[in-house]
Symmetry: C2
Amino acid sequence: MESFVIDKEFVDEFIELLELKSDEELASMLERLYPADIAEIFDHLELEQAVYTTSLLESDKKVEVLAELEPEVRVKFFDGFSHEYIATEFIQNMDSDDAVDVLSVLGTTEAEQIISHLPNKEDSLYLTRLLRYPEDTAGGLMAGELIKVNINWNVSQCTEEIRKQAEEVTRVYTVYVVDDSDILLGWVSLKKIILAKASTPISEIFDSNIKYANVNAEGEDIASVMQKYDLIALPIVDSLNRLLGRVTIDDVVDLIREEADKDYQMLSGISKVVEQKDKVWVLSKARLPWLIIGLFGGIMSSVVIGQFDGQLQENVQLALFMPLIMAMAGNIGVQSSSIIVQGLANNTISNDSVWSKLAKELTVALINGLVCSALLLGYGLLVGKSNGIMSTVSVALFAVILLAAIIGTIVPLILDKLKIDPALATGPFITTSNDLLGLFLYFVIGKMLM
Amino acid sequence: MESFVIDKEFVDEFIELLELKSDEELASMLERLYPADIAEIFDHLELEQAVYTTSLLESDKKVEVLAELEPEVRVKFFDGFSHEYIATEFIQNMDSDDAVDVLSVLGTTEAEQIISHLPNKEDSLYLTRLLRYPEDTAGGLMAGELIKVNINWNVSQCTEEIRKQAEEVTRVYTVYVVDDSDILLGWVSLKKIILAKASTPISEIFDSNIKYANVNAEGEDIASVMQKYDLIALPIVDSLNRLLGRVTIDDVVDLIREEADKDYQMLSGISKVVEQKDKVWVLSKARLPWLIIGLFGGIMSSVVIGQFDGQLQENVQLALFMPLIMAMAGNIGVQSSSIIVQGLANNTISNDSVWSKLAKELTVALINGLVCSALLLGYGLLVGKSNGIMSTVSVALFAVILLAAIIGTIVPLILDKLKIDPALATGPFITTSNDLLGLFLYFVIGKMLM
């Protein structure tokens, strides 16, 4: 891989050059670096140093670095500039989706103050509108910069339009074709434009078969359509099919990663997306909520078991297998719920009714429950444990496995129906409630059988 | 969203038309459908029906549908055709990365037999070579179809080359620039080619600043570079920097999803990537391994607790808080390990030494341990539980939280060093071992304090 890592040494060297004000050396260094790399260096700079470094960047790169900054670094960074400077030097030169991303870390009031300094009123209207779309919808993801041509034009008019827009639209993948009312009719690839004669009418070479999405579509749906159909950009339209913007694959890649990270952390009992390199108190705060739920569940368990303490006193053997029951209840619950949650997230869930999904989960649980209970009984025979305790534990294990599968399947489906993120049903929540119910069932069965 | 869902009704209607042999209606239906949608219909067809449907597809679409089929459907589908037909009708018309994907579901022998029927010897050599690269490396992901131009050419020669290659390279994003020995020098965008004069030398408009990767690079590294730098395609070179192919973002998107799914299922205790719509026995088989490990852990726990049964008999209260200790040990272990695993997967882990990572995790555990132990003590005071048991449980809880954090941090880091997938350290594995150690610690502390 030709990419290199921004390590501590490199940053130290950079800061030394900053202190020496070796502008020439710095500028040549910056020229060789990609915006994403420069943004990483900014993580380690003081505000003053960051402002100084910015002054050494050429206009295009300045803007790209800003777009790559981590949100919290960006907020700090903005303090070094006036609203007018931010508007005219940064926002004006950015793709509108990046501009919205960049501004969204500020409050609405401050964002709109900055926007008001844009020289072009149309730009500021468009940005204000974009800022109002929820972040994870087509509107929140899209950019207004795209090349569109009228169906009545020919290839040379189209090339002329690309030339006009070239500075503003950094990456042209496709040219969209619209009618006089801006209604999306289709697309034409750059390849076709290069290969066609200048006088060819667009209507002859354009392709009317085009995927598009409404501005209110969910980000996750946009992601799955673009993934399914291998699209690099997806045009976004309003309810009258007028072309508003396009979502590009790079934003979708980020979205897919973020969604996956969110689900993963939910499953692991962490309430917010955090990274190992975050500060200690951020990490601690993200984990405490689930730990406290777990603690509460543990206290509840002690109350449940307390109800059966006579039975425990009589037969202390029962205590030995509590961990087994709990661990299995927890595992089964997490397995069942995560398969449902992942199916919902990836749209790979069957269209069957809730009942048939449940029937399927129960069949799986039945098989796995029989296997596990049989293994446990076998172990009991092997080591010569008393039949009473082993048959009790085996029967209870089987019952607990079925119960845990039912809860693990139903809870995420219910949450999804209620429009609550079903991923909430994975992780400590399901483990804790399965622990409780599992233990209760275990003691009830123990009371009946022993 | 303009996309529509292939549901049971639609498939039934399609099959009815097939049985009626309404070729015209079928053809017009197929024309309106995207390859990914047709592939979904194929999931529900008998081999004979699938072969018949294929005969109605135009050549381009035929190939795209094949690339979109699920691997197991594709294997079945191949049975309907001769090797020669597969080679000349499918493989020859595919991008080489799709051809390799398609062939990789067959054994090497069968794949090479099919390849031998390709009319162009160069193609079959290139494919045989691609088939040898491991699936998740740059070599396994790349396609040979790309537009490359010589640095000594001008724009009109470049356009001519695009025209020549246009049929083979379906999507042109960038044109790569090489020297006489095929060494990668840079790239030029289609936009620039459209806007430049025909006589402009490529050397004047090309950009030498280009990201590329070696053919042996890991797929995950390719994915993070392309995500970090917002790339649509990444050129792949050999050790002499000769251009071999390119990896496109659509394959990387699939890879990112697969990797995320794999880690998610590992964390949820499922040993293979499965979907809710898979068959019962597939689901059952994927879950049993971890359940049996959990069962084994539970049996081990019963042995550990058995060592302390005198103590339990004496003070049955100790049993009441076993679930609490276990649940907390499990949660902390999963939290710590998953943050490390995700950091390793996303390359967002700090560059500090193992010791300083551990120190950080321990600090977080210290804070969370103090909070949880204090809450537990508070609960004891509130309900008037005996001081003896509550202080024992609180001290044990604190110790167990620290221990679980250490194990959760160290195990994935060790696995990663040993080149074993660190995700193995999440899920039931870590929960089970933390349960065991946690309970042991609990009883030892109980013995000392009570």
